[in-house]
Symmetry: C2
Subunit: 336 residues, 2 copies
């Protein structure tokens, strides 16, 4: 723990909290240099002209009656630590409900909500399937890759050329995100190079460098999923003992003063429509958004050769794991 504190202090002294802004996309060589530095960069002018047509009318018409998978929670906090009715804390995954794009859009803030049976008008819907819902790795392997959003694919570049060239690979997944201010993504980090483009609305990111991971206090939480027992029932959090516990940040909202220790140096950055954030592997991010926000992201596998992977593991406290306990399943589960 002392060495994690040392790392975060030294890193902050050297790097500060500035986020570079590029007025136009980098060349592949420039982006390769940015990948080595591994700090977030706000990039303007990334060509995404087809998505400018994406008003609600266009999206609903293009998608027609095709069902899409939408995350639903009672509180807007999918994939987040949430208190269950038993008073315990769970890592709560959202329910997933299928509906046409037009119906989904009507359920967002500002939409004309037409409630389904079972739905509470305070339930929060967020298109955030993040499984490569536009293009998955199968697509780049030339295999069959069925997308619920087939009708929108032609508007979305399957590669970010300067990123693919710099990394020497195709994306692992491309995702579409549509939501409103009621949805918040809890702070977490991904082992991916991430190119995050805002099409409409805006996203506010609160970032911590990988060195400050100890500040979010990852712990093991039992798994829960928001579920309707019958289609007309309200969402309840269901714990299945068969699903292993999940390691997740205990800090619920890093934007509230005092939730992070004073050693943390959060970086706040708003990504507006037409802008693109480069978010390097291991950077912690908490994400809020304006109503009516659409975004796309391209995930690329991080470089596994060299020291980056080992370093990110170290910064998450892996070196303190017991040698004979690789599953971490025996780590303490903390109660509320």
């Amino acid at each position: 723990m002392a060495s994690l504190r040392w790392f975060s202090s030294e890193y902050h002294d050297l790097n500060g909290t500035a986020v570079a802004v590029l007025p136009e996309p980098p060349t592949s060589l420039q982006f390769s240099q940015l990948v080595h530095i591994s700090r977030p960069v706000l990039i303007q002018g990334v060509e995404m002209s087809s998505t400018r047509l994406w008003d609600n009318h266009y999206l609903a018409a293009a998608m027609g009656k095709t069902d899409i998978s939408v995350a639903v929670t009672p509180n807007g906090r999918a994939d987040a630590v949430t208190q269950g009715s038993d008073g315990k804390l769970y890592f709560a995954e959202p329910g997933v409900e299928k509906m046409p794009m037009s119906e989904f859009l009507s359920r967002l803030s500002g939409g004309t909500t037409i409630l389904k049976l079972g739905a509470d008008d305070s339930d929060v819907y967020y298109l955030q399937s993040q499984n490569g819902n536009i293009f998955s790795s199968r697509f780049y392997e030339g295999a069959s890759d069925i997308s619920e959003f087939e009708a929108l694919r032609a508007d979305i570049p399957s590669e970010i050329s300067w990123c693919s060239e710099a990394l020497g690979k195709s994306p692992d997944a491309v995702n579409l995100w549509i939501g409103d201010r009621k949805s918040v993504t809890s702070i977490h980090s991904d082992p991916y190079e991430n190119i995050y483009h805002v099409v409409r609305g805006s996203k506010h990111f609160t970032l911590l460098p990988p060195t400050e991971g100890w500040c979010v206090k990852e712990r093991m939480y039992p798994h829960g999923r928001w579920t309707r027992m019958i289609p007309t029932a309200p969402l309840t959090l269901v714990h299945s003992p068969d699903v292993p516990p999940i390691r997740w940040a205990s800090v619920i909202d890093p934007d509230i003063r005092g939730n992070l220790p004073p050693e943390a140096h959060p970086i706040g950055i708003t990504v507006n429509a037409g802008e693109t954030l480069y978010l390097p592997p291991g950077w912690w991010h908490h994400v809020r958004q304006a109503d009516d926000t659409i975004a796309l992201n391209w995930w690329y596998d991080m470089e596994m050769r060299g020291i980056s992977w080992v370093l990110l593991s170290f910064l998450r406290g892996e070196s303190n794991a017991l040698p004979d306990n690789e599953t971490t399943s025996s780590e303490q589960v903390e109660d509320a």
Copy 2:
């Protein structure tokens, strides 16, 4: 210390000990990717045609009567931990003597030695001034940059184009090295990107990754310098109390079995004439050479943004330094 062991074990499990070989120089983008991976690479086919003319006759004729600065030691171990006549261990810097190239070449193994007054025929001479003896940073700043080897500059590229482009900068120093099998460079690491080209002969590198720095057991040693009290005297090791102690590896020869702990995974690689080694920052290297070996190296400043610098400091045990003791001068000086 436990976390340093963990780091080295995880790094080795992921990366092994293979050294990639490129049959031709990388593009700047490819080299940028290699810099991010930060592992040594043997590169063939780097264009250095003017140096193919460098036989002893050419070098002596080109340099004429110009004096050059040559390192001299009684044991071939410049910049190395050496036992003094008092039985204590010192970090011994070489003496520096000036002589024309022709005289220097005659003093190498295989040369026709003409002894100077004071010189012992077992004294070992090594051209290894490593201060930017060909081009220093002043050269790239457009300032006056006087080199003892002005007559050879036209044969030596001031930049390695793919490296300068990848790193977005000019070299910090370019050095010429000429020596024989009696000279050995003790294991150490440099905070530089290093392009090391062998012109003639061969160099054998024993490498350890930055993660195995703890295996070389850096300690603080009092400083000594090989000195002739009068020009006709033999070399003696002189300690000046005004010079602060030096942190250096206690492992004298990593090629002798048992000198490194079993957790070390040394990588042996021979760089032959015409070949080039990319040695990333922080990699530990012990270097031996064949008789009659000439090499050139280009040092580039490492990227200071991001985490690389902090990581290398950590791997050298900096996080264990006492907060109020930044000079490390109070660390234990070990005796023989």
